[in-house]
Symmetry: C2
């Protein structure tokens, strides 16, 4: 794939495709939920425990969005203590690939980006090389 073709893929029709997927997964919890759900069904409280920092409200909202988009399936068991289980759909599982690519990029470049930020903030950033070059 040429550089030109790659850029076109991303920019698409004014970037609508990429904007759409980022609107979908760019929020605070979606990718974490998807990753946590990867490979096993799980009930609400279990998700709540496994995802540190998420509130009941946000977990519910995130799951609803994912369900609406057909990425997550929801099963309710009519029991005395209510039980609800969530699982990735086939479509939902396909999201893991791009998500992993993103995660790997993040892990690989995080340190460098951090250093770049410090340099940028530290220097007058109109001149001056990085502080540790």
């Amino acid at each position: 794939m040429s550089k030109y073709e790659k850029a076109c893929l991303i920019r698409g029709d004014g970037g609508r495709a990429v904007r759409g997927v980022l609107d979908r997964i760019g929020d605070k919890w979606t990718l974490l939920v998807v990753a946590t759900l990867h490979g096993e069904r799980m009930r609400f409280t279990e998700l709540l425990r496994r995802i540190p920092g998420v509130s009941q409200r946000m977990l519910t909202l995130t799951l609803r969005h994912l369900e609406r988009d057909g990425l997550v399936g929801r099963t309710v068991y009519a029991e005395v203590p209510p039980r609800v289980e969530y699982e990735l759909t086939a479509t939902g599982r396909t999201l893991i690939g791009p998500a992993v690519a993103l995660a790997e990029w993040a892990i690989e470049h995080n340190a460098g980006i951090e250093r770049s930020r410090e340099a940028y903030d530290g220097a007058g950033r109109g001149e001056a090389g990085p502080p540790q070059g």
Copy 2:
């Protein structure tokens, strides 16, 4: 890579890595700017024209963030009509890969997701099976 390993990559240390990269590229214009800059240096106004809908303010902010993170380089030419050119750094170029993966996923599943949404919104969504199995 096993399912477990993939999930770990994304969830990392409480999902910090993924959260970081989404904070960085999850906003409205960053990926568009990166894609547009892919393969060619470009000046401010050129970017402004090529990215439909972006405002001067947001383009400036986005470029500053990218510069701070070391993903974009900025060159100022001291000429009578001011001229500033932007280009991807080596690190910036590595972002294209994951971005393309995301774009491909978006393009491939957009239609299905759209249908799922309509079905979800249309149905009482308390019953009724999915429209396409």
